[in-house]
C-alpha cells in the first residue's frame, strides 16, 4: 500500500513539529523546482517558460503554513512554491509544466497559469500585479459572505510599481478587508537589479493608506510564519489589511535559461549563502531531516514519473473550458 506524502511526513513528526513541517514543505518546493529545471535542460525540454523561485521558499512556506484550505492566495509568474505551499499536488503540477493531459489545466497553461480554486489558489499569473485586484476581490467576497477566511496576496517588488497596488491598498483599508499584501522581494526585477525599479521601501507604502507595514527576513521561515501569522490573525478578526515585505534572494535568472548577466558571481554567491533551507535544517535533528529528505525525494521522483508517463496534451484540449453555455 502506498501512503501519501502527508502521512509519511506526519509519521516523522511534521504535523506536531511546525519547524519540521515547514522544512519538509520547503524541501519539497526546492526539489520540485530543481527537478523541473533539470527537465528544462534535458533533451526534451519543458514546453514553456519557467520562472524559478529557488531560494525564496521560506516566504511561500512560512506564509501558507498555518493557512486553511478555505483561505485564499494569489500568486505570481514565479509561483511554483506558492502552489505547493498551499497544497497543490506535485504530480499534477509536474504534468502541467511538462504539457501533459492530467496537468491542472490539461497541460496547456504551464507554469504561469496554474489555478486551483478548490485549495484556495486563485492562480499564478502571467501579468505582473495581475493577482492584486483578484486578491482584493476575493477578500471582499469573503467579507460579504461573513467567512473568517483570509487572503494572502503574493507579489514581487517589481509588481509594487504597478498602479493596482495603490488602488488595492486604498480599497482594502477603506473596507478593512481580510487580506495580507505580501511582497516577496527577491532583489531582482526581470532582467535587472531593483535599483531600476524600486523607490523607497515597499513595506512603508501602506502608511498613507493607514495600512500597517512590516518587514521581515524572508529567508527565515519561522520569522515569516510569525509575521504573516500576526497579520493573518488581524485580518481574520476584522482588523483589516497589512503589507509585509519579506526580503529574500532569487538564485537564478528571470527565467530558466537566462544567464543573468546583470549580476556578478560574487553577488550570487553572497545571496545564496542565505539559503533558507540550510538555515532551517540547522535547528532540526539530522536523522529526521534525512528521513524527510528521502520522503521528499520519493515524492518528486514519483511526480516526475507520473508526468512523463502521462500522455502529451494534444489538440483535443484546445477547446476545453471556454464557456459553460451557448
Amino acid at each position: 500500500m502506498v501512503t501519501s506524502i502527508d502521512d509519511q511526513l506526519d509519521a516523522l513528526g511534521a504535523s506536531t513539529d511546525p519547524a519540521l513541517g515547514r522544512y519538509a514543505t520547503m524541501q519539497l518546493c526546492r526539489r520540485f523546482e530543481e527537478t523541473v529545471h533539470d527537465q528544462f535542460h534535458s533533451e526534451q525540454g519543458v514546453p514553456g517558460p519557467l520562472h524559478l523561485a529557488i531560494g525564496q521558499e521560506a516566504v511561500a512556506v512560512g506564509a501558507c503554513h498555518d493557512l486553511r484550505t478555505t483561505d485564499v492566495i494569489t500568486s505570481t509568474h514565479r509561483g511554483h512554491h506558492h502552489c505547493i505551499a498551499k497544497g497543490a499536488r506535485t504530480d499534477r503540477m509536474m504534468a502541467e509544466l511538462l504539457g501533459r493531459r492530467p496537468g491542472y489545466s490539461h497541460g496547456r497553461g504551464g507554469s504561469m497559469h496554474i489555478a486551483i480554486p478548490e485549495i484556495g489558489l486563485l492562480g499564478t499569473n502571467g501579468i505582473v500585479g495581475g493577482g492584486i485586484p483578484i486578491a482584493t476581490g476575493a477578500a471582499y467576497g469573503l467579507q460579504v459572505q461573513k467567512r473568517d477566511d483570509v487572503v494572502i496576496c503574493f507579489f514581487g517588488e517589481g509588481a509594487a510599481a504597478e498602479g493596482v497596488l495603490a488602488e488595492a491598498l486604498n480599497v482594502a483599508s477603506l473596507w478593512k478587508l481580510p487580506i495580507v499584501f505580501l511582497c516577496e522581494n527577491n532583489q531582482y526585477v526581470e532582467l535587472a537589479a531593483q535599483d531600476l525599479h524600486v523607490a523607497g521601501e515597499i513595506w512603508r507604502r501602506g502608511t498613507g493608506y493607514a495600512v500597517p507595514g512590516v518587514h521581515v527576513d524572508g529567508n527565515d521561515v519561522d520569522a515569516v510564519t510569525a509575521a504573516v501569522g500576526e497579520a493573518v490573525e488581524r485580518a481574520r478578526t476584522g482588523g483589516g489589511p497589512t503589507i509585509i515585505e519579506a526580503l529574500t534572494f532569487r538564485w537564478f535568472g528571470h527565467y530558466a535559461g537566462d544567464k543573468a548577466a546583470f549580476r556578478t558571481d560574487e553577488e550570487v554567491e553572497l545571496g545564496r549563502a542565505g539559503d533558507p533551507i540550510v538555515r532551517a535544517r540547522k535547528a532540526l535533528d539530522p536523522v529526521v531531516v534525512a528521513e524527510v529528505d528521502r520522503v521528499v525525494e520519493d515524492e518528486i521522483a514519483s511526480a516526475l514519473r507520473f508526468a512523463l508517463s502521462s500522455p502529451v496534451s494534444g489538440p483535443d484540449v484546445l477547446s476545453l473550458n471556454h464557456l459553460a453555455s451557448v
Partner: protein, 328 residues
C-alpha cells in the same frame, strides 16, 4: 388565435433597475459594485434605493479604482458571489482590461470552474458627455474567448438580458446604451422576464432587405423599415448577444432577402458590422443580390454638444437611404 401578453410602458433605465432589484432579491450571492452605485443611487438614478434595500455589503460604493473594481468582480466571483460590476461609462473599461480579459475571461480556461461575473457598461453618445464618455467599443470585447457580450436595444431586453447574465455561469458583458435611457418601451408583465443569451430577435419580418442593427440603431432601423413599408419589405434583426453571435438567425435572414444593411453606433472598421458583412459574404455569397452596406458614424471622435452628436450618428433616414441603395 393569439394570446395577448399584457405589457407595461417602461423606460429603458427602469428595465435595468428592475432586473437588478429582482436578481438581488432572488439570490443573496448577487452583489453590485461600482462607483456611486450605493449612496448616490448611480449617475442616472437607476440603482437608487438598492443600498437601502440590500445593504452596503451587497451594494458597494467603490473608490475610483477601475482596475481593482473589475478585480472585485473576478475575485469575489471566484469565492462564491455572483457579482455585477457597474462600469459608469464604457470608456472606463479601458482601465479594467487586464482584469476582464487577461484574468476573468480566462478563469474557466485555467481552472475549469465557472466565473459568474456580470459587467454592466453604459455606452454611446446619449448625453453631452464627449469623446471619453460616449464611445462604442463593443467590438474590442467580441474577440475574447471565454467572454459573452450582449447589447440591449429596448427596456425588455435590457431587463431580460441582464437577468439572464446574472444567472449565467460565464463572464458576461452587458452593454447598455446612454441614448436610450429615458426612452419608453412596452415590457411584458411577467414574473420573471428572461431573455436568453445567444439568441437574436427578429424585430420585424420582411422579404426584400435584412437590416441587422444593434443598440440604439435598432429603434431607428425599425422606424426606417416602417417608413418604407409601402415600397420595400424590410426585415430587422437585433442580434442582442454580439459574442457569440446568433449567426444562424442572421444568415437565414440574409439568405432569404439577399440584401444586407448593418447599422451600429460604433465605428465601422473591424466592428460587429464588419463581422456580420464578412459572415454574409462567406455564407450567403450566392444569395446576395447587392453588396452589403454598413451604416455607422464617420471615423471620427464623439463630440460634446448634442446637435453635433446627432449629426454624427446614423438616423432613421440614414438607414432608410442605405436600404434603398441595396435595391438601386
Amino acid at each position: 388565435m393569439s394570446t395577448e401578453i399584457a405589457t407595461k410602458s417602461t423606460k429603458y433605465w427602469q428595465g435595468i433597475s428592475q432586473a437588478l432589484t429582482e436578481e438581488m432579491d432572488r439570490d443573496e450571492r448577487v452583489v453590485l459594485v461600482g462607483e456611486d452605485v450605493g449612496r448616490a443611487g448611480g449617475p442616472y438614478g437607476l440603482t437608487r434605493g438598492l443600498q437601502d434595500r440590500f445593504g452596503a455589503d451587497r451594494v458597494r460604493d467603490t473608490p475610483i479604482s477601475e482596475a481593482v473594481l473589475m478585480g472585485l468582480g473576478v475575485g469575489s466571483g471566484a469565492v462564491g458571489l455572483r457579482p455585477i460590476v457597474e462600469v459608469m461609462f464604457f470608456d472606463f473599461a479601458m482601465l479594467m482590461m487586464d482584469q476582464l480579459i487577461n484574468q476573468g475571461a480566462k478563469y474557466r480556461y485555467f481552472t475549469g470552474h465557472p466565473l459568474p461575473l456580470t459587467v454592466r457598461a453604459m455606452c454611446g453618445a446619449g448625453g453631452h458627455n464627449g469623446a471619453q464618455h460616449s464611445q462604442n467599443i463593443e467590438a474590442w470585447f467580441c474577440g475574447v474567448p471565454g467572454l459573452k457580450v450582449a447589447m440591449s436595444s429596448n427596456a425588455r431586453d435590457a431587463k431580460g438580458l441582464l437577468k439572464s447574465a446574472v444567472r449565467d455561469d460565464d463572464p458576461t458583458l452587458i452593454i447598455e446604451t446612454q441614448g436610450l435611457l429615458r426612452d419608453r418601451f412596452d415590457v411584458p408583465v411577467v414574473d420573471d422576464l428572461l431573455i436568453p443569451l445567444g439568441v437574436a430577435d427578429v424585430r420585424r419580418t420582411g422579404t426584400d432587405v435584412t437590416v441587422v442593427a444593434t443598440g440604439r440603431m435598432v429603434p431607428r432601423a425599425v422606424e426606417a423599415a416602417e417608413g418604407l413599408a409601402d415600397e420595400i419589405s424590410v426585415e430587422v434583426v437585433d442580434p442582442r448577444t454580439i459574442s457569440p453571435l446568433d449567426t444562424a438567425t442572421i444568415l437565414e435572414s440574409v439568405a432569404k432577402t439577399g440584401r444586407l444593411v448593418v447599422a451600429q453606433e460604433a465605428l465601422s472598421p473591424c466592428s460587429v458590422a464588419a463581422e456580420v458583412c464578412s459572415l454574409a459574404a462567406e455564407h450567403c455569397f450566392a444569395e446576395l443580390k447587392a453588396p452589403p452596406v454598413r451604416v455607422t458614424p464617420d471615423f471620427t471622435n464623439v463630440p460634446t454638444p448634442l446637435p453635433l452628436v446627432e449629426a454624427r450618428v446614423p438616423q432613421a433616414d440614414t438607414i432608410a437611404a442605405a436600404i434603398r441603395t441595396t435595391l438601386a
